[in-house]
Subunit: 310 residues, 2 copies
């Protein structure tokens, strides 16, 4: 029997986990033998959403097994963010809202990227296209993904499609978006049980920019200074990662979810490019405050890619 | 004022030209300042369709001008098949039905690939999604594209979506699909005015396969032997192209549109791989008959890519 595995990116965030769960639900209702999976630990924010709506986390996988016929990627397309043996498996679909890069297939596929704030917003459209009603728990998951990716609709990546979907889904899920959303974001910003190594890996993504290999980790917080109390440890762990992966730049982004600013810490041979890209000097701790910057995708990756390609 | 340019691949075929024209029509009706364009000569088959439905060919461009805000690619995504300065322009959309390869953007975009036999079939869906009626001339163009890419619905790339769209569009266009289709294909298979150089360039596409650079040209004919009367000249021109572009393999595909077979001619250092890939010996003229093979995309590119990646 055919078996389709659906998963998002490494260091899974709420959109990646909830989109895998939701799309597997939709595919199953369309008679596809689909199973959701994840490539890493469930973070505190996502766990809060799963508990709230009573849904189990998908299975953890390290690689795609030989019993799998094809895979569907959600919330990512770049191979370095995907499962390790991605180039050996058949990708039948991609549902995503990121730039397209380092992705290729031998055969035609269904590739759907829309420039929205969240993969869940595309999936909400797809439920309508399939003529399948969104259940209460799935609505809760899709809503959580939108709140997470858009920082409660405040990120510059947030489009009118995301806003409309969020209000529609909050209604089905039976929650007050503001109240639920802030509670969920705060659960994610609770770093009291996190080590420095947790913080640099829990939401980290690797990018190719020009000839450079760049990793960008992002952590949400209610109080950024709590995070940088661990600066010495963070630095040690980051330098280890740079060494191991041969990175040119590691950018650590601490995002203030209440004021919507980020304080970044830069390390690696190419850290000077951060000053040029954002026109901000790094201080003696190699840190800089980027006012109004909350979106890795729209406000950091694009600016750095541009700087690296010059 | 913003200006969006819409174009298909180099060595344009009927799907590329008609999809550019149709999507520009749809975008204009959605109040986007869109213009169709083409990257090369209009072939006999496409010209027949344009004449039949009274539509002008789109403008010929060599590169994207500085007055253009963004571009939309139809019927291709691989950069080596696109306009020469593709990496310098903003790609806002892609509508395609091919594999995804050698494509990347800095920013999120609307990327829609569906594994159908033809781009025009996706566009026919999009007219419905936009709630715009397909006019008689546009229906004729979309139908012509489907007939061309599917060899009158006989290619293995043809899906039920293409068949449904074709019948629907033939109805709006007011033509008998079989009669019109055969007339159009025959117009395209008329090689009486073609030089050897015309034949190896009019429907040629370049591919990266493993580390190899491969070009595959396809010519339709009612009588394949007519084409190979020019074998000596074809060989001279093909060897010149191999030299100029540094190709590892040039595969020339002559397709019999009545019997649905292809006779291929292979040249270049890697020509031996053709024997392995198709399990057919090349004869003394470096030619082989591939029974039932008509689709470059589904029956040639996939098989060769597989062989090159071993
Ligand atoms: Mn996302
Ligand atoms: Mn096509």
């Amino acid at each position: 029997m055919d078996k389709t595995l659906i998963f998002g990116h490494k260091s899974p965030d709420t959109d990646t986990i909830c989109s895998a769960l939701a799309y597997a639900d939709l595919k199953k209702k369309a008679d596809v033998n689909a199973e959701p999976a994840r490539l890493g630990e469930v973070n505190n924010e996502t766990q809060f959403a799963l508990n709230y709506f009573g849904v189990e986390a998908p299975q953890l996988i390290e690689k795609v097994g030989s019993d799998v016929t094809d895979v569907i990627l959600v919330d990512h397309n770049e191979f370095q963010q995907s499962v390790d043996n991605i180039s050996e498996v058949k990708i039948s679909e991609v549902i995503d809202h990121h730039r397209v890069s380092n992705f290729e297939t031998k055969e035609p596929l269904y590739f759907r990227a829309e420039p929205f704030g969240c993969t869940a917003t595309i999936l909400n459209k797809m439920y309508k296209e399939y003529g399948v009603a969104v259940t209460k728990d799935i609505a809760g998951l899709l809503l959580s993904a939108i709140i997470s990716d858009s920082l409660l609709l405040k990120s510059p990546t947030c489009t009118k499609h995301d806003v409309e979907a969020a209000y529609e889904l909050a209604d089905i899920a039976g929650v007050n978006m503001e109240t639920y959303g802030l509670e969920m974001l705060k659960a994610g910003a609770d770093i009291s049980d996190k080590s420095a190594n947790d913080m640099i890996t829990m939401d980290a993504k690797e990018f190719s920019m020009g000839d450079a290999k760049v990793e960008i980790a992002q952590v949400n917080a209610v109080d950024i200074s709590e995070i940088y109390k661990l600066q010495a440890d963070l630095e040690t762990e980051i330098n280890k990662t740079i060494e191991e992966k041969g990175l040119d730049l590691f950018l650590f982004v601490a995002t203030d979810i209440l004021n919507n600013d980020s304080e970044v810490f830069a390390a690696g041979e190419s850290k000077g490019i951060v000053e040029k890209a954002f026109d901000e000097k790094l201080d003696d701790n190699n840190r800089a405050l980027l006012k109004g910057v909350v979106s890795r995708k729209k406000q950091i990756v694009t600016v750095l890619t541009e700087a690296f390609s010059k």
